[in-house]
Structure formats: structure tokens, C-alpha cells
């Protein structure tokens, strides 16, 4: 027996002499630790080690290590293997019933906190649900296209001199034709053209149609199944027409339309196919398709520009690549085409690139879009806002859970004593928070249903873009979101509980270091309030800017002016009819309505033939200036209506004089000077005070008014008396119907149109305002919970202070001091951040913005602070007024 002991001691004596004794191979140690049952592990490790050190002496380090490895492997036996983890997990599942029970009890016991948590999560998640539904909707655009993944669109970037580049969804026909002929590796290619609008006549039936020109490969590229007709030949011949099912039904009823004729203007088109109606989520939308050969037959001869490289405004080219092919090869071919074609151009360039079809609806912002689009930045911003609000609600959960830990730590302590591992406690609290967030999901889903209708009603354009309908996939996303939120919210508290020392807690509950986390909680509240303040300040600043746009002094009057879109009718005819209505004061005609954002440009020259510049243009009649109260600085209005081609006069604004330095900018002297606009020599007969032409965020630019008799005019501007509007509108409608029976009257008040033009702005404002409201609600709820908790836990302290003679106001100060400090910090952070963000980043994009009122910033602070004071005040007063006797007696 003694020999054994001695041997046992041996290695120990060796150790200290050798500072770095060789160690057994680490991987073998790890292997053993991995597979071995925890209760056997120490024993086995010890044995192996002992043998190892013995072998070191007798057999050398290499053999010793080898033997160690072999032995570690040999120990791998049935009884040494640890139970696999899934068994533990299984035990977890058995315990879930118990977790649910304790969670439910805790929820019911703390009604206020449960309410705050569930309500906050529900409200914030509803915004998240909206974003999910929106993104899913947008991402599923064109999903019905079978070849979606390999379909591409050719898009164009137009650059002119030093002006900013314009990205267009459209491109030139030449690109399509060239690629078709010369580029290898393109399976199919189709050319579309928009701008076909007209009324379809079949017998007595007249229907306005929205159609596209499409070439014969259209049905090879896109998946629009034909109910009747042959997709291969339907769009081959000129003047053939494919109708959507709904349109066909409207025009022909139940009669088979194949081979029948539809008349547009004076031309007859033969129906060669009937297609299924366009699905809702398609970026291409049409009532009918006209063969591209028709467009070629109609325009190619008269318009020399038709096939030109520079004619990029109306045509769309889509191509399908074979499954094996790489878009890069086509991209290279397009790049070559770019260099080749642009070499012939001066000062301008058109660069064509491929864009995947997937990005047509939710992709970069392109002008001349053929269908509805939403730039991803909008989704990102909305998503970011939703994320912030959800985070805020999670903060509440974290904060309140840790604050309440005093009450639940005993439960955790007992659980740990009976054998719960850290992971079990972690699991329990994570499960609890997930459960709560799933409950919140239920409420937030109800809220989502309400929000959805509100959101879709915000702007009619949103309704045409998305439906936000539910699908199993979306529901799955919702649940994923809820689980994610639950895990995020519950992680910190769960970790906190898992780390609790069971013995300590059970010995003395107060020993738990509750206030160690106070700085975290303070930081969370400060963050919440900072965000709320930023949000509300943003809303208020945005609102004042918006009011500024709407009420902007455009330099002319828009009051009581009704703009009627002529829709191809004769302006003079309607004008005469309208003049008979007593409430109509004056009627003018114009090509377009200014200040709504759309612009028409023309090139103009003064004396220097090399100095030409773009000026904005409107064609008006002699009534236009008086109707809109434009101020003439010098000269006169148009007087004589010129015959076609005999136009001689032009009225300009001051900016024109400045731009061309006409008469050193003196309006009186500028009269009678000749300018050339669009190749026509015109005399300046009047100079107008500067006024706004484009959207209000642009600078005031040079504008000219031309006077020509060319029909058709775009609009009638009707100045009407403000009395009895319904009757006036009714008589105007009657007058309209006498001249146009097909199209309904399209009349809008100028002021309403202005508001509409900035509706995107107001939509954004409404959304941000709503989210600001949510953020404040959630932050206030969190603050409220914290105040209630703090005053409750300090009730004893307060009572003793009171007994010892503290005044009520002193107590209120004591209780609210900490919170007020946090709010002060939040204000100090939020205000400068918001100010600089707007001053330096946002408002620099607007030429004529309102100054950022300090009042806007302070008003936001005042609102949030008032709310916070109310919360803190009500609770602290309540606590301070409590009778100390009742509090102290119960202890």
C-alpha cells in the first residue's frame, strides 16, 4: 500500500523543478470534457493526468502524449457519455408548463406593469407590422412573371453639361433594336412605348383607355396569359390590339372580340387577343396593348427623331437572359454601345445600364417610371422609425423587469436551490418575455388592422401601390417579429435573474444588488426621452415648413380659381358656355398650371447667338394675367390674338432680364427688345414681378409667357365668386356635359391643388407625427412605471422622513429630483441635435424654407415635459401625502 502512495507522490515532486512541464494534448482533454458525463469527468481527467505524468518520467513526453490520447479515446464508453443536450431541452419543455404558470401569476399580480409592457409592445409592434406588410407587398411585385429572376430593364442616365444627372426608367428604341441585332446571349427582348391614350369607340360605346405600344416579343418576356388569340402573332401586324379581359367585356360584352374593330380617333384597330387582367402587383399596368408596328407606321416617317439614340423619354426595353448567362456580358455590350453612340454627341451623354426586374417597383428612384414605384429609402426610413419605437418599448420592458426583480428574485432563488441551472432560469425568463410579446402581438394585430386602413387612406397613390393584404407568409413574419422582440426585450432581465446568487437572495432579499443597474436604467430613460423630443421637434418643424409651403406667397393669386382640365376639348367653346354662369367672374386659358411641381422648358436667346439658356414656359391667353393678379412692372398684357405662326409677343419675368442682362435689368427699357424662344423671334411687351413657377423648394427662375392661338389648350382657369359653391359647381358641370359626354369633369381649386402637390410632404409629416406620438406615449408609460416603482419602494423611507418632520414639498423634490435630472439631460441632447440636423442637412435642400423657430423646438419640449411632470408629480404627491402611520404599521 505504501508503494502506491509513494508513486502517487512522485510526480508532484517533479513538477516544481520543471517550470514548464509538458502538457497532455489539448484536443484530447477537450474531447474528453466534451463527451464525458460531468460527474465522472474529474475522476477520469485526474487518472489520465496521473498516468501521463508517470509516463513522462518513464517513456518520454511523446509516448506519454500518445498514450494520453489513446486512453482518452478508450474511455469513450457507453456509461461515460453524457446525456445528449436534447434531453436537457426535453426537460425544459416539461418545465414550460411551470414557467407559464409562474409567468401568468406574475403578470396578474403586477397589473400596472403588465399593462405598460403589453400595451407598449403592442403599439410599437403595430407600426412594425405595417412596415412588414408594406415591404412584403412591394417585394412581391411582379412575382407572377415566370422569368422574373432573369428579366432586366434597360435604364438610362441622362447628363447635360454641368446639370445634375437624370436617371430614367425609359430608354431609346435604338438601344432595343441594337441589342436585338448585335448582342449575343439575350433570350428575348421587347420594346414598349407609353403615351398611347385615347378613347376606344365600338359602336356607341366610348371608353377612355390606358394602353401601351408593345412589340411582338412582349408575351415571350412577360407572363400575361392570353385568353384568346395567339401570343406569337397577336402583336405582329400594325393596328392590332390586345385587350385586357375587363376592357374587352366593357367594349364588347359577351361577344367574342377576336377580329372585331375598335376605333381610336379615325383609325380602326383589329382585336387580335384578349389577355388576363393585369394582376394588382404588377409594375406594368395597361387596359390594352397596341402593336409596336403601329407606332412605327405612325411616327417613324414624320418624326425623324423616332429611332434616335437621344429619344429616351417614352420607350422601355426589357430583356430576358438565358438561365446560364451572366448579365455582365450584356452590361459590357451596353457599355460599348454607350461609348460608341455618345462619341457623336456634344455636351450630353446617355448612359444605358441593366436593372433587374426585381427592382422595378422597389428600387432606386427613376424618372419616367412606367408603373408605381417606391424608393427603398422610404421603406428604410419607416423601418428605422418603427425600429426606434419598438426599441423604446423593449427598454420599458427591460427597465421595469429589472426594477421589479426584488419581488421575483426569491422565486428564482428557490428555483435555483431545487436544481435549476443558469440556463433554465434564462430560458424561463426569455420564455416569459416571448409569451408577453406574443400577447402583445394579438393586440398589435388589431391595431394593425386599424392602422392599415388609415395608412392606405393617407394618399390615394399608396392605395394603388399596395394593398397590405394578409397572407400566411406575412403572418409568419409577424410572429417572427413578435418572438424577436420578446427575445430582445427579455434578454437583459433574463441574464440578470440567471446571475442571481440563490443563497444570498434567500438569506436576505435586500442583499441583491438592485441598484447596481440603476445607471443602465437611467441611460435607457434618457435615450427614450431624447428620441421622443427629437421626434416631436421634427414634427413641429416639418409642420411649420409645410404650412409655409402651402401659404407661400407665390407672387400671384390662387384664391377662388377653379382649374378645369380640358381633356382635348375646345377651350373657347367651354369658355363661352361658362361665361353664361353668373358666379363665373372671368375665364382664362393656359397650357399648364404653375407651382404644382411640373415644369416645361424652352431654350431662349437674346442678342448673343452663342448664349442660349433654358427658361420655363407657360402659354396663356390675354385673360390669364388679370385672373391670377400677376403684377406687371412695366408694359402691358397681350392684346391681339395672333394667328397660327404669327406670334410676336412675349411677357417675361424679372429673372429673364437678369439672366440675359437685358437693358441692365430695367423693366421699362426692356420693353420692345427682341428675344428668340424656340426659334421664334418675339418682342417683350411686358415685364412681370418675379413669381413661383416650379415647386416651392426651387429657386425663382426665369419664366416667359407666350401667347398663341394654337389649340388645344390644357386648362381653363375659372375665377368664381365664393358664394354658393355647390350650385356654381353644378352649373359648371352642366356646361361641361354639353360639350363632352364621355369624360367626367376634372376641376380642382388651385388652393387644393397646391395642397395636393405637397401631399407627399403632409403624408410624411402625418407618419412622423404619428410615430412621435407613439414614442412619447411609450416613453411616458415607461417613466410612469419607473416613478410608481420608485415611490413604492421608497415609501417606508418617505414615511420615516415625514414622521421626523420633512415637509411635503421637500419630499416631492426628493422623489422627483432624479427624474427631472434625466429629462434635463435628454433635452440638452435632443435640441441641439434636432436643430443642427434640420439646419445643416434637411433644410439646405429647400431654397425658400422658413427659419427654424426656437418656439417650435421649445413647444415640443414643453409638451413632453408637461406630460412628464404630470406623471412624476401625481405619483410623488400621492406618496408624499400617504399617512406614515398606515405605511409603518404594516411593516
Amino acid at each position: 500500500m505504501k508503494t502506491v502512495n509513494n508513486r502517487n507522490v512522485g510526480p508532484r515532486n517533479v513538477g516544481p523543478q520543471n517550470p514548464e512541464p509538458p502538457q497532455p494534448p489539448r484536443w484530447a482533454q477537450r474531447l474528453l470534457a466534451w463527451y464525458c458525463r460531468p460527474d465522472l469527468l474529474e475522476d477520469l481527467q485526474g487518472d489520465l493526468h496521473e498516468y501521463f505524468e508517470r509516463n513522462l518520467k518513464t517513456k518520454g513526453s511523446r509516448r506519454a502524449r500518445l498514450i494520453y490520447c489513446l486512453d482518452a479515446l478508450k474511455f469513450f464508453r457507453l456509461y461515460t457519455i453524457r446525456k445528449p443536450d436534447f434531453l436537457n431541452l426535453f426537460i425544459h419543455w416539461i418545465m414550460i408548463g411551470s414557467y407559464l404558470k409562474t409567468s401568468r401569476r406574475s403578470l396578474v399580480r403586477n397589473k400596472l406593469f403588465s399593462f405598460i409592457n403589453i400595451f407598449g409592445l403592442a403599439v410599437s409592434m403595430s407600426v412594425g407590422l405595417l412596415i412588414i406588410a408594406l415591404t412584403t407587398d412591394l417585394r412581391s411585385y411582379d412575382d407572377f412573371q415566370v422569368k422574373k429572376d432573369r428579366t432586366y430593364r434597360v435604364i438610362t442616365t441622362y447628363k447635360n453639361l454641368d446639370q445634375p444627372a437624370v436617371d430614367l426608367a425609359s430608354t431609346s428604341i435604338k438601344v432595343g433594336k441594337t441589342v436585338q441585332k448585335t448582342v449575343a446571349g439575350v433570350e428575348d427582348l421587347t420594346i414598349l412605348r407609353n403615351g398611347f391614350s385615347g378613347d376606344a369607340h365600338v359602336g356607341e360605346t366610348v371608353i377612355p383607355l390606358n394602353a401601351l405600344w408593345a412589340d411582338r416579343s412582349f408575351f415571350k418576356v412577360f407572363t400575361f396569359p392570353l385568353l384568346a388569340g395567339d401570343p406569337a402573332t397577336a402583336l405582329k401586324e400594325p393596328y392590332s390590339l390586345v385587350l385586357a379581359e375587363k376592357t374587352a367585356r366593357k367594349l364588347f360584352g359577351d361577344i367574342n372580340p377576336l377580329g372585331k374593330f375598335v376605333r381610336f380617333d379615325t383609325l380602326n384597330y383589329v382585336v387580335t387577343g384578349v389577355a388576363n387582367d393585369v394582376p394588382k402587383r404588377s409594375h406594368l399596368r395597361f387596359d390594352a396593348l397596341v402593336s409596336f408596328a403601329t407606332a412605327e407606321a405612325q411616327f417613324a416617317k414624320t418624326d425623324p427623331n423616332f429611332y434616335s439614340w437621344e429619344n429616351v423619354w417614352q420607350n422601355y426595353v426589357y430583356l430576358v437572359l438565358p438561365e446560364t448567362s451572366n448579365p455582365k456580358s450584356v452590361q459590357t455590350a451596353l457599355a460599348n454601345l454607350n461609348t460608341q453612340e455618345n462619341a457623336a454627341l456634344k455636351n450630353r451623354s446617355f448612359t444605358v445600364t441593366l436593372q433587374p426586374l426585381k427592382e422595378a417597383a422597389l428600387g432606386r428612384k427613376l424618372d419616367n417610371a412606367i408603373g408605381p414605384t417606391m424608393p427603398p429609402i422610404v421603406v428604410w426610413i419607416l423601418g428605422g422609425l418603427a425600429f426606434v419605437v419598438i426599441l423604446s418599448a423593449c427598454f420599458n420592458y427591460t427597465n421595469l423587469s429589472i426594477a421589479r426583480s426584488l419581488r421575483r428574485s426569491r422565486e428564482v432563488g428557490i428555483r435555483k436551490l431545487v436544481g435549476a441551472l443558469k440556463s433554465h432560469v434564462l430560458g424561463q425568463f426569455m420564455a416569459e418575455s416571448v409569451l408577453i410579446s406574443l400577447m402583445a402581438l394579438f393586440f398589435s394585430f388589431c391595431l394593425f388592422l386599424v392602422l392599415r386602413t388609415q395608412f392606405l387612406a393617407l394618399d390615394p397613390r399608396i392605395g394603388t401601390l399596395v394593398t397590405l393584404e394578409l397572407s400566411p407568409r406575412i403572418i409568419l413574419y409577424f410572429i417572427t417579429l413578435a418572438i424577436g422582440v420578446g427575445l430582445a426585450a427579455g434578454f437583459l432581465p433574463a441574464l440578470f435573474f440567471a446571475r442571481i446568487n440563490a443563497l444570498q437572495v434567500l438569506k436576505d432579499v435586500t442583499a441583491i444588488s438592485l441598484f447596481r443597474h440603476i445607471s443602465t436604467r437611467k441611460a435607457l430613460i434618457v435615450i427614450q426621452y431624447t428620441l421622443s423630443l427629437v421626434f416631436i421637434a421634427t414634427t413641429l418643424i416639418g409642420y411649420s415648413q409645410y404650412r409655409g409651403f402651402i401659404a407661400f406667397d407665390l407672387g400671384f393669386t390662387t384664391e377662388n380659381i377653379l382649374n378645369i382640365r380640358l381633356q382635348g376639348n375646345k377651350g373657347n367653346l367651354l369658355s363661352k358656355k361658362l361665361a353664361e354662369i353668373p358666379a363665373v367672374r372671368a375665364v382664362s386659358q393656359s397650357m399648364m398650371i404653375t407651382s404644382l411641381g411640373s415644369i416645361h422648358g424652352t431654350t431662349m436667346k437674346y442678342q448673343d447667338p452663342n448664349d442660349s439658356a433654358m427658361v420655363w414656359l407657360n402659354q396663356v391667353d390675354e385673360q390669364y394675367l388679370p385672373v391670377h393678379n400677376h403684377k406687371l412692372l412695366a408694359g402691358r398684357n397681350f392684346t391681339l390674338r395672333p394667328k397660327k405662326g404669327e406670334e410676336r409677343e412675349v411677357i417675361v419675368n424679372e429673372q429673364v432680364l437678369k439672366r440675359f442682362n437685358i437693358a441692365q435689368g430695367n423693366p421699362e427699357k426692356a420693353l420692345g427688345q427682341f428675344v428668340t424662344a424656340d426659334g421664334q423671334k418675339l418682342a417683350i411687351v411686358g415685364v412681370l414681378n418675379d413669381f413661383h413657377y416650379g415647386s416651392v423648394d426651387r429657386k425663382i427662375e426665369p419664366v416667359i409667357f407666350r401667347y398663341s392661338s394654337e389649340e388645344p389648350w390644357g386648362y381653363l382657369n375659372v375665377k368664381i365668386a365664393a358664394t354658393d359653391l355647390p350650385a356654381t359647381m353644378a352649373s359648371i358641370d352642366n356646361a361641361w356635359r354639353t360639350i363632352d359626354k364621355v369624360h367626367p369633369l376634372d376641376a380642382k381649386f388651385y388652393d387644393d391643388q397646391l395642397e395636393e402637390a405637397y401631399s407627399q410632404f403632409s403624408v410624411v409629416l402625418k407618419v412622423i407625427g404619428f410615430i412621435a406620438f407613439l414614442a412619447i406615449c411609450i416613453a411616458s408609460l415607461g417613466l410612469f412605471g419607473m416613478v410608481v416603482f420608485t415611490t413604492e419602494t421608497r415609501l417606508k423611507e418617505i414615511s420615516i422622513r415625514k414622521v421626523l418632520g420633512a415637509s411635503e414639498s421637500g419630499l416631492i423634490y426628493l422623489l422627483s429630483r432624479g427624474f427631472l435630472g434625466m429629462l434635463a439631460v435628454a433635452t440638452c441632447v435632443a435640441l441641439p441635435v434636432t436643430y443642427f440636423f434640420f439646419d445643416r442637412v434637411v433644410l439646405t435642400n429647400f431654397a425658400y424654407h422658413q427659419p427654424i423657430g426656437l418656439s417650435n423646438l421649445l413647444l415640443g419640449v414643453a409638451i413632453v415635459m408637461a406630460l412628464a411632470f404630470l406623471l412624476i408629480g401625481s405619483q410623488t404627491v400621492r406618496a408624499a401625502r400617504k399617512n406614515p402611520a398606515t405605511v409603518l404599521k404594516s411593516e
Partner: protein, 111 residues
């Protein structure tokens, strides 16, 4: 493997534990076995047997005080239980009974 029947190696291990008294832990048992039987006892095998004996309730084990040798790991000491003692005695009795009935001449010549 059912019941308390002892295998030959099991019996040897059990006897060794009893012989080592308070010093019976795996490595010592191995050494002792090698010394007396002359055959090499593999650690893994001995461990398996110890585990089996413990399952049968013939030995019980507990971890000893921590030491700085063995990489700081504690030793697991084994001790023969009452059931173990009974099993050993029974095995011995069976053998002795068998020895007793062997006719004397049968073995003498072969030695």
C-alpha cells in the same frame, strides 16, 4: 450481467478494493492488480468494471480531498459495500465448496 453474480475480473477488482482499504482509487487499483495477477490492467477496463460494480451496488464511491497533483483533480475513492462483502464471501464459499468435493488425486499429478 443481472443480479449480483460476480465475473472473474469483477471479483479481482472487488478484492483489490477491499485490500486497499482507504486507498482504493482507480490508478492504485490498476497497480495493485498488475502486481498480484501479473497481467496488465488497462485503466479503461478497470473504470468500466468499477462503474458496473457501483451500478450493482457492490461498491460505493466518493471524491476525496483536492490535491495539487493529478492536474488538480480529485481522486474517486471506492469502498466495498455490505452487499459487496456478501458477494465476495459467497463467491469464496462456492469455490471452497467446489474445492472440497474435488477428489484429492485428481489434481495432484498435474501440478
Amino acid at each position: 450481467m443481472k443480479g449480483t453474480n460476480l465475473g472473474e475480473f469483477e471479483e479481482l477488482v472487488l478484492l483489490t478494493i477491499a485490500a486497499l482499504v482507504s486507498d482504493a482509487y482507480s490508478v492504485a487499483i490498476c497497480d495493485e492488480l498488475e502486481k498480484y495477477t501479473g497481467r496488465s490492467a488497462k485503466l479503461g477496463v478497470v473504470h468500466a468494471v468499477l462503474n458496473r460494480l457501483e451500478e450493482k451496488g457492490l461498491v460505493k464511491s466518493q471524491l476525496g480531498e483536492s490535491t495539487s497533483a493529478r492536474g488538480g483533480k480529485r481522486k474517486r475513492y471506492y469502498e466495498v459495500t455490505h452487499a459487496g462483502k456478501v458477494a465476495l464471501l459467497k463467491a469464496k464459499e462456492i469455490r471452497e465448496a467446489l474445492w472440497r468435493i474435488i477428489p484429492g488425486f485428481n489434481l495432484e499429478g498435474s501440478l
